[in-house]
Subunit: 174 residues, 3 copies
C-alpha cells in the first residue's frame, strides 16, 4: 500500500490530518518529475505560530522551486504557472482565505476547477482532512468543514490520483 513515488500526471489530491506528512509526500511527488517546479503557497503569516510553520516548511524544501504566494486568486496563479509541475500547499488555507474575505465559495471553486482542467503540467494539491472529529460547537467551523469536504469531493471526482497520508505514509484512495 505504500507508494513508490511513481510519476504522477494530471491532478493529484493529497489529503491528510495535521502533521501527517502530507506536504513532504506531495513535494516528493512533484520533485520526482522534471522541473522547473512551482510552489504556490496560500499561507498568510498573520501570527508568529504561522510564521514559524511557514519558515520551517520553506527550510525543509530542496532548492529549485519558484515560490508564489497567493491569498485568493489561486486560479490565476495556476494559469500563470506555465507547463511545469505545480504544488499547491494548501487548499485548506486558501478556502479559509476565501471564506474570511467573504467571497463566493462556489464561484471560487468553479474557477479553480477550470484552471486545473486547463493545465497540461501535473498539479499536486494538498488539503487537510478536517471532518473526522466531533461536530464543532462553532458554526463557522462547521461551515468551514462542510465547504472543505465538498471541495475535496469535487476535486477527487476528477483527480487522477488521491492519497490520504497517515503518519507520513500514503494510503492510495484513487
Amino acid at each position: 500500500m505504500t507508494h513508490e513515488h511513481t510519476a504522477v500526471s494530471g491532478v493529484t489530491l493529497v489529503l491528510g490530518g495535521a502533521r501527517s506528512g502530507k506536504s513532504r509526500f506531495a513535494e516528493g511527488l512533484v520533485t520526482a518529475l522534471p522541473g522547473p517546479w512551482t510552489y504556490i503557497a496560500t499561507a498568510q503569516a498573520w501570527d508568529d505560530e504561522m510564521r514559524d510553520r511557514i519558515g520551517r516548511h520553506q527550510a525543509e524544501r530542496v532548492p529549485g522551486w519558484t515560490t508564489v504566494e497567493v491569498l485568493l486568486d489561486l486560479a490565476g496563479a495556476l494559469a500563470a504557472a506555465g507547463d511545469g509541475p505545480v504544488l499547491v500547499d494548501c487548499l485548506t488555507l486558501w478556502l479559509t482565505n476565501v471564506m474570511l474575505a467573504d467571497r463566493d465559495v462556489a464561484a471560487a471553486v468553479a474557477a479553480l476547477e477550470a484552471a486545473l482542467a486547463a493545465r497540461t503540467g501535473a498539479t499536486v494539491l494538498v488539503g487537510n482532512e478536517v471532518g473526522m472529529g466531533i461536530v464543532p460547537e462553532n458554526a463557522l467551523a462547521r461551515a468551514f468543514r462542510d465547504h472543505a469536504g465538498r471541495l475535496h469531493q469535487r476535486l477527487a471526482a476528477t483527480a487522477s490520483q488521491v492519497f490520504l497520508t497517515v503518519a507520513g505514509l500514503p494510503l492510495k484512495v484513487k
Copy 2:
C-alpha cells in the same frame, strides 16, 4: 482501491467524516440492487441548518425510494421494512437521539443487532467517523464518541462489508 459498485449483500457499514460523500456512496450501493428501496432517515429537523441539510439530501436522491423517519425505534423500522434493500442514514443521529432521550444505549444497540441479523435483504448503514480529532473538552461529546466508536466496532465485526469514505471515494476496510 476504488469501489466498482459491486452488489452488496447482508450488512454493509459505510463510515466517513463530515461531507465525505458517505451518504451518496451508500445510496449508490443500494440503488445498484433491485428495488423497492427503503430509506430510513434518523434526522430530526430541530433547526434550520438541519432542515436545509435534510432537504438537500432528499432533493439529491433519485425517485423510487420509500422514506421512513424514525427517531428511536430503528430496530422496529428495520423489521417493518420488508425484504428489499434498506439504507439507514445515519447511525450517528440515531445514537444521538437515543442518548438525548436517556435510553439505555446497550439495550438499543442489542435490539439493532438482532433486527439486522433477522433481515434477509441488504442493509446499508451510514455512520460518521468522529474519533480522529483531539479529545473533546465536553464530557457529553466524549461519551458520545465512545458510544459511537463501540457501536461501529460491534457492527463492523459482523458486517459483510465495511467502507471508509474519503473525499467521496471509498476505502474498503473489510
Copy 3:
C-alpha cells in the same frame, strides 16, 4: 485488506481514533507471538473516568501478561523488558505525560527511538490518531497534536508495520 494476524516482528505502529479497537488489535498482534508478553501501560489514573477505562482494559486482557506502569521513562521500561514481545499502550498518554511534566519532547522521542532500535523482540506501539478534526482553538491542544503527528511520522518511517484501525478493523498502511 483485513489483517490475518500474521506474525509481526520489529516495531509495529497501530494508530486509530478513539474507540477504534486499536488496543484490542495490538494485543492480538502480541499474543499471536510466543510469550512472555510485557504490557507497558502509560495511563495515569487521575480521575474516575480514566480509572474505569484502565480497569475495563485490564479486565478484557487475557492472562499471561506482565504489566509495567510508566509515566515518563518509556525508554527505560523498554530496555528493562527483556527479549519478549512488548505492547506499549499508549504513545498518546506518554506524550501527554512528557508535555505536562515540561520535559523536552525531542529528547524524549530520541531516547524512545534508541530504545526501540536496541530491542530484539517485537514491539507493538499504540497511538491515537488526533489530527483529522478541525484545528483546536486551544493552543496546548494544537501543540499536542503537532507533537503527536511528528512522533507518529518518525516512528512510522522506521517501523516494520503500520496499521490504522477503523471500527475495530485494520487498514494496512505499511
